[in-house]
Symmetry: C2
Subunit: 404 residues, 2 copies
């Protein structure tokens, strides 16, 4: 494989946040009607000006700078004192012990943790089970490591009280030799939570086939009313075969500090540290200090954040469900909503560009997450409430305008 | 290649900064005499409490946090406004144009830039010319990408006014198919600067054989009196075949913010951004703001920093040269010194551990940089002046104690 062919699949042209690099050539010819005015909303990521970082996070960062060299140059896996604080809190949150010394690594964002976890477990030709739809980088990470992707469908649209993962496809993948299963829970982009029965089944299958599971739980703190969350790492399977990934970039709006953690399997964490040593040395030393504020937010702060997101979710659901032909499942956790649009007279990718040009609305095309999601778009609704609702109203106006 | 074998070569046990994870089992049996008291010095990296971060760097970081979402979520390659400021300054410094939009990427540290540059140019089986000795991660990066290393010797110990790179070995490597040449200038660990004639010869050979050159110029601002520095990217070779890497982690003591840049070849930078999107998304958004202070330090600040380092260098040279059997070349740039010790009664790796246990002195073993450097140790002398001198006096006392 040449380096050119290796990178040809790693396109970022439609990736969230990269819209400013897109050219709009050719689209003018298919535009219908005039632009709709309104405050622009970038749904490709959360708006940390609308939902601001955890109170006290900057102060704890400043204390890190004040601490000087000790905080600037930590072990590659992160400062031990901070790992110890986190281990206790993460064990409490997930319901299973975390080994601060050998079973936890601090990374530059959860993206850093995902990269290190995949590159530390997948080598050329290894089969990896990947959910469709799921976080777009999962597929790219497997491709970069030259693994072989074994897709597992998730019928989130019709399932109720569960994700809709096709467990028989997952077992087929394990039976065909998949040694790794990588998935996000809550699912990105669909915003659904795996049921207890599904998580227990995943644990049982992974145990039976000796597979390693990497579970991205980035959004597992932002659960809406009535939703139960089951932590895979607290189920019956060998703790050395599970790596859990979390971080404070989303719910806590701390993305600007680039922080994530991976915890679980000591052997895999050890490899991840070896790799981090040549990839970026360590998560930013001063930024690591910000983790001291994580899982230690002011009383009531997280509850309020959840309530505010749930209120936006409910209003967006109303807008979408009032429009004929839009299908959308209720987001159970996190701040993604993934409506499937009706048949349009323009291609899915073109409609995404039209939305940006005519409505000032940036969304991420569904094809980033699954080849079967061309009719869907993902919105991160962690936004100013009124602006988000108005932007979705413009979106459905354009859906009507461009219907097939 | 299994994932286990892939990682077996990536050991970090002797890597700088990881000493706290080392066990001291077995060493007691070979200790001679008592410990020598004195203020411990960790020469594995610079002491940012002795040489503090650039004045104003924290304030410009704080302004980045204040800017909010715009600064937290930049393009993957970094904020365009900051890239534009940097492009102008880096063009002025290196003597060749820098394309802010397409030819520059901001990375998590220079380590991040090195990883992305190598992983964006080297695929399985590609031959890569690597200097011996050179920065230890260079070898590991090539191994991780499953490239084939073509070693090129540098006889820095005997050369004068040049690095001593064996240009005929470099040409042999190109003739044998090496398509990439990766090297640091000033050299890490030897602290020597390539002469104009050497850089021109490298440019001519790279042009002749169509090779890509990745040059790590991390220490190119910290030049001592009388030293000329030649920028490879300003020489006669195709600008698309050169990537230059720099960052403010060392001379400017900004390592805690994890910042680096790579600039040059548009095609390679484009690949690096695609890879960054799945490795860590972007350099920490708020940290990027700190680059506004880079190459914009207060008048006289850099000159003073250079003078202070030169004074430490001169005192360490005196200590080493007063000890029979220690050979050391004068550091021309940067803050590394790389003395070769006389024959000892203990192995090189054991002596490094003894130094830590009996003298409170942490150094990096020469074998991290080259298989031919077992008798050498690397010291980063960006330390408190008096403490560094005292620590080196303890080091030479132990050299005398453990002589063969």
């Amino acid at each position: 494989m040449t380096i050119q062919s290796k990178f040809s699949g790693l396109g970022t042209d439609a990736a969230p946040g990269q819209e400013s690099r897109q050219l709009s050539g050719g689209i003018d010819a298919i535009l219908l009607g005039d632009a709709i005015t309104g405050r622009p909303v970038d749904f490709s990521h959360g708006d940390v000006d609308a939902f601001t970082p955890t109170p006290g996070s900057f102060e704890v960062f400043s204390a890190g700078v004040e601490a000087g060299g000790r905080q600037a140059y930590t072990e590659y896996r992160g400062d031990l004192g901070i790992r110890e604080e986190l281990a206790t809190r993460l064990a409490g949150f997930t319901g299973a012990p975390v080994d601060a010394r050998d079973g936890l690594i601090i990374t530059p964002g959860t993206q850093g943790a995902l990269f290190l976890a995949v590159a530390s477990t997948v080598s050329r030709g290894d089969k990896v089970a990947i959910v469709q739809p799921d976080y777009f980088a999962n597929r790219k990470l497997v491709e970069f490591c030259e693994g072989e992707m074994m897709p597992v469908r998730m019928d989130y649209a019709t399932a109720e009280g569960r994700s809709g993962l096709d467990l028989s496809q997952l077992e087929d993948a394990f039976r065909s030799g998949a040694k790794i299963f990588l998935f996000s829970n809550p699912n990105n982009p669909a915003g659904v939570v795996y049921s207890r029965a599904e998580i227990e089944a995943i644990a049982a299958l992974a145990s039976q086939y000796g597979a390693t599971v990497i579970v991205d739980q980035l959004y597992s703190r932002l659960l809406y009313a009535g939703v139960d969350y089951t932590h895979l790492r607290a189920q019956k399977l060998d703790a050395e075969n599970v790596v859990t990934i979390m971080g404070p970039s989303k719910t806590e709006s701390l993305s600007g500090y680039r922080l994530g953690v991976a915890f679980g399997s000591r052997e895999i964490i050890a490899r991840m540290e070896k790799l981090q040593a040549i990839v970026s040395l360590r998560a930013g030393g001063y930024s690591q200090a910000v983790l001291r504020s994580w899982f230690d937010e002011p009383a009531g702060w997280m509850d309020q954040r959840i309530r505010e997101h749930q209120a936006i979710r409910d209003d967006l659901l109303k807008v979408f469900r009032a429009t004929s032909g839009i299908q959308v499942r209720t987001t159970e956790a996190g701040s993604y909503i993934f409506p499937a649009l009706p048949r349009l007279a323009v291609a899915g990718g073109d409609f995404v560009r039209i939305l940006r040009l005519q409505a000032g609305v940036i969304v991420t095309p569904g094809t980033e997450f699954s080849p079967f999601s061309e009719s869907s778009v993902r919105l991160n609704f962690s936004q100013d409430h009124a602006a988000a609702v108005a932007a979705c109203e413009r979106l459905v106006t354009l859906v009507d305008r461009y219907r097939a």
